[in-house]
Symmetry: C2
Subunit: 462 residues, 2 copies
């Protein structure tokens, strides 16, 4: 292996751990710099467009539509090496990142962009019962559970068990929880309307549970109220000031605003609450003595580096990126994109020996979509026009998400799928995949199936 | 639940087991018939467009692109009930199909359309080593293995192990094996060309093994030779009259035409040989005393019913559908579609008390695609024009597959993805998903990684 071209001497070695929004925007921003040698380490071979993951979970999109191979995104960057591997440790003195399987990677500057995942706080045993939504596997598992629940209800003769199969509880009223609830409302009342014979999907109960006094806490109260109205129009019960105290395969036990407890029988509980940074960021904090907050996010300097370690950046959801006093950058895609880009800018200017500015988050606003043709926005720089609900919010959401989708082919595919979903009220990718293909039967002795005689069933379905 | 309309008395109850091409075409054909009450039973909630499954395995399409939910395909058929369930037994006297979990389903006429899957003959232990290609899960598993192999090679320092990671063996030279080999050749020489730094994907060895004296046995010998030339142009080694005698994680042991044995070190062996009908068809044969062939296919009467049981049809890959003397209908999509449609036609005419014809397979010809812009066809009714190779074959293949893809939105999505793949030489859905995300390391003590120093690596990649 002979070099066809002599590489520049003493190039600055930048290692990026994590290929999500923050890591990818840092890598792309440094990719054209001949002074920099870039290594990107990720456990997965593709970055995921997280804001659309709930659409995979609800059958509107395929996993491939919202992901693009990391190597193909970065293959034009001649200064970049991609390593599929898991970073498990750091030696800040020797400036090396340690991998689970493979030799250490040396760096001159390190960018930690490992993001966050959901957490069940003190109840790790809830993970198996109530899946969260962070990975492609989570999304196809949630899709499987939602579709299987309707299938099981169709076959269940016992009215109580049937009701439990048709009750969906979503824990957490943030953007993910709200969007999941809206999509579920649409599925029950619209998509599946004509698909079953023994059940009416429109009779499904969809319950959104939030611990504080309103949903969508990052938005102003007026927007939260608008979102709640729109969800209720889709048949979603919104329960604020309600806490989950127990969770098992039979259902959820909650305490309401007045402290009274209630058990909701449900076979499908989805988790959209609680965020914890990935382990590597916490490992780096421990090795460098940096402080973390309750969610494990690393407290960084105004330039996003670790105190005393100007060569280590922590960006995106792994860090408490400063913004307003007592108000860090929100954990949204824009925060990660801007954090990653900032780290790259600082590195470039340092390499050139130039001064640089601290990180400043520029709030482009938030948009959440609630089912078909409706949503809420909160876009500060548009003034009063930035506070939209309903159709305008939905249109804005559409444009913004298409704009940020990486990979041109995916943009077209997603547009086609959305156009189709919109025109036909269908959801094309409602595939039940995985190992457990058939719904478990609720009782030890299987009851006589409801749709036994096709004659009866057709009549009932009319 | 009150019927809004009185169902017709004494409707003829038809139960279809299996929702592949054969079952689905039977169900759709009977779906408008008010004299019939139809029940379709399938283990999966979606039919799969099998002819394009290899494209999922090779990252050109997503699983959702080639599948459509069964309920949404059939939801307009008011006389049809879909049951997600596994048929495990039959009582031919009481005319009932038994399900694994749930009460029996009564029928007046039964259509068995449960298809076939691959088999490892007397070596079930090979299944874990060399995955076959029949389900969506198979396809994503094969995709994972192919992509992981290149990733592992990129990280492997030992040249022998690296070579084993970059050697791909495909067992079976039928259409699936040929199309897989062609797609792999394209991936290695084109798609991944610029994606790695330490390895050259173009140096991958792709070996296609076939036991008889030529690949694509359903085609005339001239077409087989053309396919072999086209594969060789893509860098695929074609080995005919070669048998696999042993398979393990280290590689494949084969015996060649002259009887000499050879071991091919390979970490990725794919299985495209051996077909066995699904168990339910064999259960039905045993319960009714019908004969089966070596592959477990049920020997049926000229009208596709079981001897002595005119009320039980066996169609598609589950049956030996008659065609020419000593030459049954080939196990392709067209055979299944025509078999299912025939059963529906006979049932309709019987209900009306009219006479009906025996099954006659109409050969529309075969098309296989071999990588980019090339393929082979064998289309009898086009005369000499039906024997095409190269680009014409590729275009024909494109048109035919788009035509038969179920679900209009999927057709557009597939077209967009193909156009993109064609224009950019990329494959958008190269996602490594599943539980084992990282490649296992070949040696107990991990060697120093090849791309340790980014400087070196960039030079090597030029």
């Amino acid at each position: 292996m002979v070099a066809s071209q002599e590489p520049p001497r003493l190039a600055h070695r930048v290692t990026v751990v994590g290929g999500g929004f923050a890591g990818l925007y840092a890598a792309r921003s440094l990719g054209i710099d001949p002074e920099v040698r870039l290594t990107l380490v990720d456990r997965r071979n593709f970055p995921l467009f997280q804001p659309l993951l709930y659409q995979v979970a609800t059958g509107a999109l395929s996993p491939g539509d919202i992901a693009q191979p990391l190597r193909s995104i970065l293959h034009k960057q001649r200064n970049t090496t991609v390593i599929l591997g898991e970073a498990v440790g750091i030696d800040p003195d020797r400036r090396e990142v340690l991998l689970a399987d493979g030799g250490p990677i040396a760096y001159d500057t390190l960018i930690v962009a490992t993001g966050a995942h959901h957490t069940y706080f003190d109840h790790p045993e809830w993970a198996a019962i109530a899946p969260g939504l962070k990975t492609v596997e989570d999304a196809t598992e949630i899709r499987r559970r939602i579709l299987i629940a309707f299938e099981a209800a169709e076959r269940e003769a016992d009215p109580d068990l049937r009701r439990a199969w048709m009750t969906f509880v979503i824990v957490g009223g943030g953007p993910t929880g709200v969007e999941l609830a809206g999509a579920l409302g649409e599925i029950a009342h619209d998509t599946l309307r004509r698909d079953f014979r023994a059940i009416r999907p429109g009779e499904a109960r969809i319950i959104l549970i939030e611990a504080i006094d309103r949903i969508l806490p990052p938005y102003p109260p007026g927007r939260s109220a608008s979102a709640q109205r729109q969800l209720e129009r889709l048949g979603v019960e919104v329960r604020t000031r309600t806490r989950v105290v127990h969770l098992d395969e039979e259902g959820v036990r909650v305490t309401g605003p007045d402290g009274t407890a209630e058990t909701i029988p449900s076979r499908t509980v989805l988790w959209a609450a609680g965020v914890l940074t990935a382990k590597f960021a916490r490992t780096v904090a421990a090795a460098t003595g940096a402080a973390t907050d309750r969610a494990g996010r690393v407290i960084v300097e105004p330039d996003l580096t670790i105190p005393g370690h100007p060569e280590i950046f922590v960006v995106g959801d792994a860090a408490v990126q400063p913004w307003k006093p007592d108000h860090p950058t929100p954990g949204v895609a824009q925060g990660a994109i801007q954090g990653g880009s900032h780290a790259a800018r600082v590195i470039r200017r340092r390499v050139l020996g130039r001064p640089y500015e601290p990180f400043r988050y520029s709030d482009h606003g938030d948009v959440a979509v609630i089912g078909r043709l409706s949503g809420v926005t909160n876009i500060g720089w548009l003034g009063p026009f930035g506070q939209q609900g309903g159709f305008t919010a939905w249109l804005l959401w559409l444009g913004i998400h298409i704009l940020y989708l990486i990979g041109f082919s995916n943009r077209i595919v997603v547009l086609v799928r959305w156009a189709w979903t919109f025109l036909t009220h269908g959801r094309g990718t409602r595939l039940i995949t995985g190992s457990e293909l058939l719904p478990p039967i609720g009782e030890p002795e299987p009851p006589v199936m409801a749709p036994l005689d096709p004659d009866e069933v057709v009549a009932a379905g009319d």
